[in-house]
Structure formats: structure tokens, C-alpha cells
């Protein structure tokens, strides 16, 4: 079956926008993806017909909202092949999920002198929560190095694993470099020593099929807004036994069984970790995004994006002075680059004047910029709705701005 690119583009209303009188070429998908009409409609329908608070009222609207929210949980459970709906915890995003794990699992199980392993290509959201935990507990953060292509050095990673290692947290796909890590192997090595592993899937899950049971990861975290869903919602997947044993994160309504001034008891999974009114509409919107992705198929999306990346890489390599940052053999659809002395922010402003949206900056990965000795990079990142014609617009824009800079 041919990839239904025209239909897909028609499903995303924002792609009809004109930016500075030019057709939008949206290549900032690694920062956030655009939303299909189905996601927008699901939220409009909820607020227009079905909205009330969840898990509380006996009235009709509360029941409708609760049913739709729990149905979204079930869709996400199926999407990542979790064993149970109880393993799907709704949070604000991948960042909050990592913080939750660090402050609950981490505080309960990681102590002074213990070691936590991350990698050299992590996003700040998978560095800072662990540094905070280390400050609180006296644990030590260890960083597994990478090579110049942006590939994790597996031997060095393996050597870091010791009896002191109590947790491993690794990015599935690097947002700054595009590196798709060999996660099966990254999970197996620590598991052989009974060390739990968390994957930061924020950048991977929109672009590749994820099966958490097959991976056998202990935790998997991602954000809704990068999965074509609304901002303000994300998912923490955890193995049920681990989640059961973890203390709660925040206290409040919805996460309790009984409350008295002497002692409160906590609700079961997943509600133990969902204090307060959740992002009801956003959760339901994320469920609609998953439905939409299922109609296209994650393998078809991955294949389409792989062909975009191959084309963009080949075209970019023709440009004199363009240096690609991140050349791992296995990559997600991310093209990070520099243009000699033309600063990425100037590249970003110039491409914007042509209707092209890219990201310029450190991509919340300052240690990665440090590693490559660049202050910033320009980054074009592709999604299910991008085309080769858009890559041509990008490449011609880059050639022209080089000329203008002189």
C-alpha cells in the first residue's frame, strides 16, 4: 500500500497556514508535533457535550468523562503493549515522569554511595532530576560516553555497571542527535545484574513502534504533545510490581482511599500517582491521537520518515560547509547541523522568513553541545506529514542564506 501522504496532510489543519506569506514547512517536530483534526475534534466534543470532573460525580457527565478518560488509558496501554491499564500513569509530560521516578522509586531505593547511570546524550530532563536525587541522597551520577558519531559506547556502558549501580536511565532516541539507541541490549545488560532500567521515549515513540513487554524495560516515559496529542499530558509506564512498591509522588484528592487527620491510606494503581484533577481533555485528546496513528500504522510512519531522513541527509551533504551533528548508523528522523560561522539562530530567523520552522539552540542538551564544541546547532526534524518537496524548500533556503551571509 502506498503511504497516504495527501490524506495525512489534509488531516492536519495547521499545514494550510501561511507563514510570512509562504506555505508553512514545519520541521520542528522534535520540539512538538502538530495535531490532526481528530485530536482537536475529540477535545471540542468533550467540552461541548461530555465534560465534567472524573472519578467523582454520580451524574451523567462525570460518568461520560470518566469513561472516555479510562478508555484513553486503555488505548495507550494497547499502543505500547503494557500488561495492564494499571501500569499507565498520566502525568504532565516525560519530564514529570522522570521526576516522579527519581523522587519515589529513587528516594526509596537509592542511597548514599549508590550509582545511577545515564548517557552523554541525555536531554536535561533525564539529567537534572537525577542530579537532584544525588544531592538529596549522596548517590553518584555516572555518565556512559558516546563516540563522535553520537553512538553510545556499549563496552564502556557495560563497564560502568557494578554492584553499586542501582538504576539506569537512558534516552531511547536522542533529541539533539537523532541517535536511536540499541535499547534491547541496554536493558539486558543491567537486568543481568538486577538493575532496573528506565527509557526516556519522548523522542522515540512518535516514530517507531514500542512494545514495553518485549523490551522488558522497567519504566518507559513519554510526552503527549510529541505524539500528535495535546500538551500538558504525558505517560509514565511502569511494571506493576515496581509501581505497587513505590511510595506516592504528590498527595491530594483522587490518590487516597481514606483520609483522617491521623493517617491516610492510598488508592491503588494507577490513581495512587494521579493526585488532583487530571488533564481530562488532554488525556482524551491523546487517546484520539493514538487512534489516529493506528489507522496509519507505526511501521508505515517509520518507513516514511526513514526515507525522508535518508533524502535530507544526502541533500545536506551536498552543501559546502554544512556539518551534520549526529551520524549514528541507527537514527530517528532528526537532522542536526551547523554551517561554519553562520550561527544557528541566524539560520533559524532566515529560514523562518521563508516559512520554514526549525529549531536553533542547544536543544536542552548542553552537555551534547559541549561534547561537539559548538554553542548550538540548527535542527530539522521530520514527522509523518512531511514530504521530500519540503526538504527541497529547506535545502534551497540553506543554500540561499549561505549566499546572503557571504
Amino acid at each position: 500500500m502506498t503511504y497516504p501522504i495527501e490524506q495525512i496532510r489534509a488531516d492536519f489543519p495547521i499545514l494550510n497556514e501561511k507563514i510570512r506569506n509562504k506555505p508553512l514547512v514545519y520541521l520542528d517536530n522534535a520540539a512538538s508535533c502538530q495535531k490532526p483534526q481528530a485530536v482537536i475534534d475529540s477535545m471540542v466534543k468533550l467540552y461541548s457535550h461530555d465534560y465534567a470532573n472524573v472519578h467523582r460525580g454520580v451524574h451523567t457527565l462525570s460518568v461520560r468523562s470518566t469513561d472516555q478518560m479510562e478508555s484513553a488509558r486503555h488505548k495507550i496501554k494497547t499502543f505500547i503493549n503494557a500488561a495492564s491499564d494499571k501500569e499507565i500513569i498520566f502525568v504532565r509530560g516525560a519530564t514529570e515522569a522522570v521526576n516522579l521516578i527519581a523522587q519515589t522509586y529513587g528516594r526509596a531505593n537509592i542511597h548514599a554511595g549508590d550509582e545511577i547511570i545515564i548517557t552523554a546524550m541525555e536531554h536535561h530532563s533525564n539529567i537534572v532530576p537525577w542530579q537532584m536525587l544525588c544531592e538529596q541522597t549522596g548517590a553518584i551520577l555516572k555518565v556512559a560516553p558516546m563516540n563522535l558519531a553520537g553512538e553510545l559506547l556499549m563496552d564502556e556502558f557495560e563497564q560502568l555497571l557494578s554492584t553499586k549501580t542501582k538504576f539506569v536511565a537512558v534516552v531511547h532516541t536522542s533529541n539533539a542527535l537523532g541517535t536511536l539507541n540499541p535499547v534491547e541490549k541496554i536493558i539486558k545488560l543491567p537486568h543481568a545484574k538486577n538493575i532496573p532500567v528506565m527509557l526516556d521515549g519522548a523522542q522515540a515513540i512518535p516514530h517507531t513502534a514500542v512494545d514495553v513487554q518485549k523490551l522488558d524495560c522497567d519504566f518507559y516515559v513519554f510526552s503527549g504533545h510529541k505524539l500528535y496529542g495535546p500538551s500538558g499530558v504525558g505517560v509514565l509506564y511502569g511494571k506493576q510490581a515496581l509501581l505497587e512498591a513505590m511510595p506516592p509522588y504528590q498527595g491530594g484528592g483522587d490518590m487516597i482511599r481514606t483520609v483522617s487527620f491521623e493517617k491516610s491510606t492510598y488508592a491503588g494503581l494507577p490513581y495512587k500517582f494521579e493526585a488532583g484533577t487530571p488533564a481530562i481533555a488532554e488525556i482524551i485528546g491523546l487517546g484520539a491521537a493514538v487512534d489516529y496513528l493506528n489507522t496509519i500504522g507505526m511501521q508505515a510512519i517509520a518507513d516514511h520518515e526513514a526515507s525522508l531522513l535518508a533524502y535530507a541527509t544526502q541533500q545536506a551533504q551536498q552543501i559546502d560547509g554544512l556539518k551534520i551533528i549526529g551520524e549514528a548508523k541507527e537514527k530517528g528522523a532528526i537532522l542536526s547541523f551547523t554551517l561554519g560561522r553562520i550561527h544557528p539562530h541566524d539560520i533559524g530567523t532566515m529560514l523562518d522568513s521563508l516559512g520554514i520552522a526549525i529549531r536553533a539552540g542547544h536543544h536542552c542538551a548542553m552537555p551534547v553541545m559541549e561534547f561537539y564544541q559548538v554553542p548550538a546547532t540548527a535542527r530539522a526534524s521530520f514527522a509523518m506529514y512531511n514530504t521530500k518537496a519540503e526538504i527541497d524548500v529547506l535545502i534551497s533556503g540553506i543554500q540561499n542564506l549561505i549566499e546572503m551571509f557571504g
Binding site: R20, R341, I342, H343, P344, H345, D346, T349, M350, S353, L354, A360, G361, H362, M366, M369, P375, A376, G397, N400, L401, M404, F405, G406
Partner: protein, 150 residues
């Protein structure tokens, strides 16, 4: 192709970006302050030589976009020979010009700095132009800690 950008990227800006003025480390500087824009990673170090109230010399080192490089290059040129109060006054006028607070550009007051007026149409880039001046402000107030635009 880049018609919309001619106001922002004037030839003078490209010139200062290609050949930044006063781009060197200053030995025995009286003031030395780091400026940093954490959003984009632009970094600069500003050096000043003072004789009483007069800024007798200024130079910088660092790494930034064309707008921030041109801004600090122009600034180090224009503040030489000025009193501290005159430099602070220039900062105020420059700030009003780049943020669009003052619509009318007082060419007499800003002089060559007028080439940076175009950033007012690009809110995302205003901090690129003002980083140098915030750093100067800290240097004149003799603050030791690094300046951040955030």
C-alpha cells in the same frame, strides 16, 4: 529571497559579524564580566579599561549569532571615551529602540547603533541585541557574577 529580513540583517551587521571590532582579550582590564543567554547559548566576556569616570577602552571575546556579535562589536566601539553615565544613558536609549518602547528612533542619540533597530520586529531576537548592553551595565556597576538574560 530574504526581502523581509533586509531591515534586520543590514550589510553593517554582516560586516561586524565577519570582522568584529575590539575582539580580543584585554590584559589588565579594570572590569571583566561574562554575559550569557541561556536560551540560545550565546556567551561573551566584556573587558573595560577605566580612567576615573571615563571608559578608555573596551573589548570582548565570545561566541554568538550575527546580531549579538554585531551588537557587542558596535557597542565596544561606541562607548570608548564616554563617561559611565553617558554609557548608561546610551543603554537606556538602545533598550527603548530595540524593544520598540520608543517608536521614534533618535538617530542623534543612537548613532551607528540604529542599524540594530530592526530587531524590534523580531521579538525572539531582541535578547541577542541587548546581551552586550546588560553585560556592560553589570560591568559598570562592578558586579562580579555572570549576567544572564533570563
Amino acid at each position: 529571497m530574504f526581502e523581509d529580513l533586509r531591515e534586520l540583517y543590514q550589510e553593517v551587521i554582516f560586516d561586524h559579524n565577519r570582522n568584529p571590532r575590539n575582539f580580543h582579550v584585554m590584559e589588565n582590564a579594570d572590569r571583566q564580566v561574562d554575559g550569557f543567554n541561556p536560551l540560545c547559548g550565546d556567551k561573551l566576556t566584556l573587558f573595560l579599561k577605566l580612567d576615573g569616570d571615563i571608559i578608555t577602552d573596551a573589548s570582548f571575546q565570545g561566541n554568538g549569532c550575527a546580531i549579538s556579535t554585531a551588537s557587542v562589536s558596535l557597542m565596544t566601539d561606541i562607548i570608548k571615551g564616554k563617561t559611565q553615565a553617558q554609557a548608561e544613558e546610551l543603554f537606556t536609549v538602545f533598550h527603548e529602540m530595540t524593544t520598540g518602547k520608543e517608536e521614534h528612533i533618535n538617530l542623534e542619540a543612537v548613532g551607528k547603533l540604529a542599524v540594530l533597530a530592526g530587531v524590534r520586529e523580531f521579538p525572539a531576537r531582541v535578547k541577542c541585541a541587548t546581551l552586550a548592553w546588560h553585560t556592560l551595565d553589570a560591568a559598570l556597576k562592578n558586579q562580579q557574577q555572570a549576567v544572564s538574560t533570563e
